[in-house]
C-alpha cells in the first residue's frame, strides 16, 4: 500500500489540532489559546488505498525564532519533514501565516497551504484563493475544521500532491541577495534548498547553524556583522522586514475586507482587557466559576447518591450473600461501595470541573486573565503565563506540568510546577475538600482550606523567588477572538480527561476494596493499621484506619476519599468522623504528596533531585500543618 507522510505546521491557535482531529479521527485536546499542543501528535488514516501518516507539530509563529517550540519544529522539518508539509493558517489572519509559508517554501519543502476557519473568514473578507495559489505557486485549500468543510479536498490534494518546480521566492534587498548567492555556492544541508539554508545561516538560526561547517558558519557570521555595520540594522530585522513587506502585498492583493460592524464578541473582547472593566470581569468570571462549581457539585452529588441508593440499595450485597455467604456479602459490599464512590466523586466533582474548564478554555478568555494577572505574578517570580498551567492544574497536575513547557524560563517552570504539585488542588483534591470537608465540616471549613492553599502558593512563590537566581522573562501573547464554546468539544475534552477515572481508577478501587473487605472480614485490618496510629491518631487525631486512605492517596487522590467511603460503610461518613476530623483530613489531603503520575512527570521534566525535594516537602508540610490544625482544634 502507498504511504504518504504529512507534517502539519502553523501559527499557534490556527487550528492545527482541530484539523488533525478532522483528518485522522484521533481526538486530541483542543483549546482556544496558543500552546495547547506541547508534544508531537501522530496518527494514520487510510484514504483511497493510501496510508496517510499525519504529524501535528506545536504551533510556531515563524521559523526564525529561537524558542524551544521553534527549534522542535525546525528539527522536525529538517530531519523528518515527510512527503508534504501542510501550513495551516487562520484564514482571517493570513499575513503571518504567509510569512511562515515563505519560510517553509524557501527551505525547498513540498508545501500546501490550508486556510482554516474559512467559514468565519468568509464573513469578514473576500479571499481570492486561486490568485493566492497562483502567486505562491503552491496548492491552497480552504478548510474549516469546525464544520469539516474542505477536509476531504485537503486529503485528496495531499494524496495527489506533486511538487512543483518553482514556488514563490521572497526577494531580499540586493545586499542580502549577494550574500545568499555567495553562500549557496558553498553547498547545502540535509537535502534542503541551498537558498533557504543560506537565508537561515544569515539569520544565525541555531539549528541550521549547528549542522553547517565551521567555514559556512563563520562566513555567514562575517556577512551578518558586515551587513549590520553598513546598514545600521541587524540582518534578521532586515530579512523579516522584506518577508512581511511581501506578505503584506500578497495579502492586500488576495483579500479584501468586507464592510461590517464590530460584532458583539469583539466589543466584549475589548472590555475584557480594558483598565476599568478588565479586573472586575476577571473577578466576576473566577467567582462565578467557583460558585457554579460548589453549587452544582453539591446538588449533583446528592442527586446521584440518592438515585444510586434507591435503584441498587442492598441488592448487590444480597446477591453476594446468596452466592458466597458472609464473605460474599463483604466482597459485594466492597464493589457496591466502589461504584458509589466513583459515581459520587468523578461525576459531580471531576467531570463538572472539566466541563467548566473546557468552557473557559474554548471561550478564549484565559489569555485575558494571563494579561491581567501578569503584574501580580511578578511578585511571585513568575509572569502571567503561569496562570494557564495553574488553571489546568486544578483539573489534573500531570497535563499542568506538561503545559509549563510553553514557558521559556527553566526557573519559572520549576517554581510553577512546585506550586502546582504542592498547593494547587487537582479535581480529586477539590472533591475531597468540598465533598468530604465541605459536606461534613461545613463550607467555612472548606473555604479555610482554600485560603490555606492560596497562602501556600504565595509562600512558595516568594521563597523560591528569593532563593533562585533571577532570570528576566517577557510576556508576549496573542489574544484569540472570544467565541462561544462548542459543547461538543467541551464534552469530548471532558470525557477524554476523565476516562482514566473509569478505566484505571475504578478497577484499582474495586480490587483494593475487595481486599480490604476480606481483611476486615477476618479482622486482620486493625492489626495492620495499628502501628501507624502515632501518625493518624496521636499526630492528626484521626481514626487509625484512615491510614489506608492515605496510602491509596499516593496512588491517586480520589482513591483516598473513595476508600474512606468504602471503609466507613455501612455507616455513613457523617458518623465515621467528627467535623474537626474532616477538616484535618481535608488539610492533609490537600497538601499531600503528589500522586504517582505527577511524580513520574516531575521526574521526567525536572529530574530525581527536584522530584524528591518537592514530594518530601509536601508530605512533611501536609503532616505538620495537619497536626497543627488538630492541635488548635482540640484546644477550642
Amino acid at each position: 500500500m502507498d504511504e504518504i507522510r504529512v507534517t502539519l505546521v502553523g501559527q499557534p491557535n490556527a487550528g492545527k489540532s482541530s484539523l488533525f482531529t478532522r483528518m485522522t479521527g484521533v481526538g486530541v485536546i483542543i483549546s482556544n489559546y496558543a500552546g495547547t499542543t506541547v508534544e508531537f501528535e501522530e496518527a494514520t488514516v487510510t484514504r483511497n488505498g493510501v496510508n496517510v501518516h499525519v504529524h501535528d507539530l506545536p504551533g510556531t509563529y515563524a521559523l526564525s525564532g529561537n524558542s524551544d517550540d521553534e527549534r522542535m519544529v525546525m528539527d522536525a522539518l529538517v530531519n523528518d519533514p515527510g512527503d508534504v508539509v501542510v501550513v495551516v493558517a487562520d484564514a482571517s489572519n493570513i499575513e503571518g501565516s504567509i510569512v511562515l509559508c515563505f519560510e517553509v517554501i524557501e527551505l525547498g519543502l513540498p508545501t500546501i497551504l490550508a486556510l482554516n476557519k474559512m467559514d468565519l473568514a468568509m464573513k469578514r473578507f473576500d479571499t481570492d484563493l486561486s490568485l493566492l495559489s497562483r502567486i505562491l505557486k503552491i496548492p491552497v485549500v480552504p478548510v474549516s475544521a469546525r464544520s469539516a468543510l474542505g477536509v476531504d479536498a485537503l486529503m485528496d490534494e495531499i494524496i495527489s500532491f506533486k511538487k512543483r518546480t518553482a514556488a514563490f521566492n521572497v526577494r531580499y534587498d540586493s545586499h542580502t541577495e549577494e550574500y545568499i548567492e555567495e553562500l549557496t555556492s558553498i553547498g547545502t544541508i540535509a537535502g534542503l534548498d541551498p537558498r533557504g539554508v543560506a537565508v537561515k545561516l544569515l539569520e544565525a538560526d541555531e539549528f541550521i547553524s549547528s549542522l553547517a561547517s565551521d567555514e559556512e558558519r563563520e562566513t555567514a557570521e562575517r556577512m551578518a556583522a558586515e551587513f549590520e555595520r553598513s546598514h545600521g540594522e541587524s540582518i534578521n530585522v532586515h530579512i523579516a522586514r522584506d518577508r512581511y513587506g511581501q506578505a503584506g502585498i500578497v495579502k492586500n492583493e488576495v483579500q479584501k475586507k468586507t464592510a461590517r460592524e464590530l460584532t458583539f464578541s469583539e466589543k466584549l473582547s475589548d472590555m475584557t482587557t480594558a483598565p476599568a472593566t478588565g479586573i472586575p470581569i476577571l473577578i466576576g468570571v473566577l467567582f462565578l466559576t467557583f460558585l457554579t462549581f460548589i453549587g452544582v457539585s453539591n446538588f449533583l452529588e446528592g442527586l446521584i447518591h440518592d438515585a444510586y441508593v434507591s435503584a441498587v440499595g442492598d441488592s448487590l450485597r444480597d446477591i453476594g450473600e446468596r452466592i458466597g455467604g458472609d464473605l460474599g456479602a463483604a466482597v459485594m459490599e466492597g464493589i457496591n461501595g466502589s461504584i458509589l464512590a466513583i459515581l459520587t466523586i468523578v461525576v459531580p466533582f471531576i467531570m463538572l470541573f472539566y466541563v467548566l474548564l473546557g468552557i473557559l478554555e474554548d471561550s478564549g478568555y484565559l489569555p485575558r486573565a494571563v494579561v491581567l494577572l501578569d503584574r501580580t505574578m511578578h511578585s511571585l517570580g513568575l509572569h502571567g503565563g503561569a496562570f494557564i498551567p495553574m488553571m489546568v492544574g486544578l483539573g489534573c497536575n500531570v497535563p499542568a506540568i506538561m503545559a509549563t513547557r510553553v514557558i521559556a524560563s527553566k526557573r519559572e517552570r520549576i517554581i510553577i510546577s512546585t506550586m502546582i504539585a504542592m498547593a494547587v488542588p487537582c479535581s480529586a483534591q477539590l472533591a475531597i475538600i468540598l465533598g468530604a470537608t465541605g459536606k461534613y465540616a461545613g463550607i467555612a471549613a472548606a473555604f479555610s482550606i482554600f485560603m490555606l492553599l492560596l497562602a501556600m502558593i504565595f509562600v512558595i512563590g516568594i521563597l523560591m523567588n528569593r532563593w533562585m537566581k533571577f532570570e528576566p522573562t517577557s510576556l508576549a501573547m496573542e489574544m484569540p477572538d472570544l467565541s462561544a464554546p462548542s459543547m461538543k468539544n467541551v464534552i469530548f475534552k471532558t470525557w477524554n480527561r476523565c476516562k482514566d477515572f473509569f478505566i484505571l481508577a475504578f478497577p484499582l478501587l474495586v480490587a483494593g476494596s475487595i481486599i480490604l473487605e476480606v481483611l476486615l472480614f477476618y479482622g486482620a485490618l486493625d492489626a495492620m493499621v495499628g502501628p501507624f496510629s502515632f501518625i493518624t491518631g496521636t499526630l492528626l487525631g484521626l481514626p487509625p484506619i484512615v491510614i489506608i486512605a492515605f496510602v491509596f492517596g499516593i496512588l491517586r487522590k480520589e482513591m483516598a476519599l473513595a476508600m474512606l467511603m468504602v471503609l466507613a460503610a455501612p455507616i455513613t461518613l457523617a458518623d465515621f468522623m467528627t467535623p474537626d476530623q474532616f477538616l484535618v483530613f481535608g488539610v492533609v489531603m490537600a497538601l499531600y504528596v503528589p500522586c504517582l503520575a505527577t511524580v513520574a512527570v516531575l521526574w521526567r521534566e525536572f529530574g530525581a533531585k527536584n522530584t524528591v525535594l518537592i514530594s518530601g516537602t509536601s508530605l512533611i508540610a501536609a503532616l505538620m500543618i495537619g497536626a497543627g490544625f488538630n492541635a488548635i482544634l482540640s484546644l477550642i
Binding site: A62, S64, G65, N93, S234, V237, A240, G384, A476, M479
Partner: protein
C-alpha cells in the same frame, strides 16, 4: 579659523551660561582645554560677529543671535546622536563623537528629516524645526503610545537579540502598522493590534519597539 572651532566656542558658552548670565574666560579655557590667551583671541572674533558680548573682568554672554545659533547647534548634535544610536544602533560613546562633527555640517533640512525618523518626543523647544514638528512627528516606544494611536514600526532597539527575535517572530517587524488597543493594568501588559490579530506585550518588550505615529 575654521567655522567648526567658532561653533564649538558658542556651544561651550551656552553650556556654561545656559543662555543666561556670563561665562568666565578661564572656565571656557578649562572646558576647551586651551590657554586663556587663545580663548580671548577667539572671543574677540565672536564679538565682532555680534554673537557674544564681551566685557572685561565680567566675562562673556551670548547675544540673541549667538544664543539662537548655539541652540541650533546643540539640537543638531542631539538629533545626530540619537539618530546614530537609535537608527544606526551605534553605542553612545562613538555616536557622541561622530555627532560632535556632524553638528557643524548637518543642514537644517537633513536634521529635520532625521528628526522625523527618530521622532522627537524627548526634545523640548527644538531650534531646528520648532515646536510644531514635535506634535506632528514622534517616533516613540510602543509603550508610550496612547489608546487608539496608530503607528508604523520604525525599528527595534535592544541589546538582547533573543528578545528581538521573539518580537520579529510574532510580527513586530519594521514597516508594519500597529495600533494600541488597551492598556490593561497599571504597568501591566499592553494590547496591540497588528493586521488581524491582537497581541499583548509586557512593558519591557513594548519599550523595544519604536514607532512613527501616523
Amino acid at each position: 579659523m575654521a567655522t567648526g572651532n567658532r561653533e564649538d566656542y558658542l556651544l561651550r558658552i551656552l553650556r556654561i551660561t545656559d543662555g543666561e548670565g556670563t561665562a568666565k574666560t578661564n572656565d571656557i579655557a578649562a572646558l576647551m582645554n586651551v590657554s586663556a590667551a587663545s580663548v580671548t583671541e577667539m572671543l574677540k572674533v565672536l564679538a565682532e560677529d555680534g554673537l557674544i558680548e564681551y566685557r572685561k573682568y565680567k566675562g562673556v554672554s551670548l547675544t540673541e543671535k549667538g544664543l539662537a545659533q548655539a541652540k541650533r547647534l546643540r539640537d543638531k548634535h542631539q538629533i545626530a546622536e540619537r539618530f546614530l544610536m537609535d537608527v544606526l544602533d551605534k553605542d553612545q560613546g562613538s555616536a557622541h563623537e561622530e555627532a560632535c562633527k556632524m553638528e557643524h555640517v548637518l543642514s537644517d533640512e537633513s536634521a529635520k528629516k532625521m528628526c522625523r525618523i527618530i521622532g522627537a518626543a524627548d526634545m523640548t523647544e527644538c531650534e531646528v524645526c520648532g515646536p510644531e514638528c514635535l506634535k506632528k512627528e514622534s517616533g516613540i516606544q510602543l509603550n508610550r503610545m496612547s489608546a487608539g494611536m496608530n503607528g508604523k514600526i520604525s525599528h527595534l532597539k535592544c541589546d538582547n537579540s533573543e528578545k528581538i527575535r521573539k518580537l520579529l517572530s510574532i510580527g513586530f517587524v519594521p514597516g508594519r502598522t500597529v495600533s494600541l488597543v488597551n492598556r490593561t493594568t497599571n504597568n501591566g501588559p499592553i494590547i496591540f493590534r497588528m493586521g488581524e490579530s491582537n497581541i499583548a506585550l509586557d512593558q519591557d518588550l513594548a519599550s523595544i519597539v519604536f514607532v512613527n505615529i501616523q
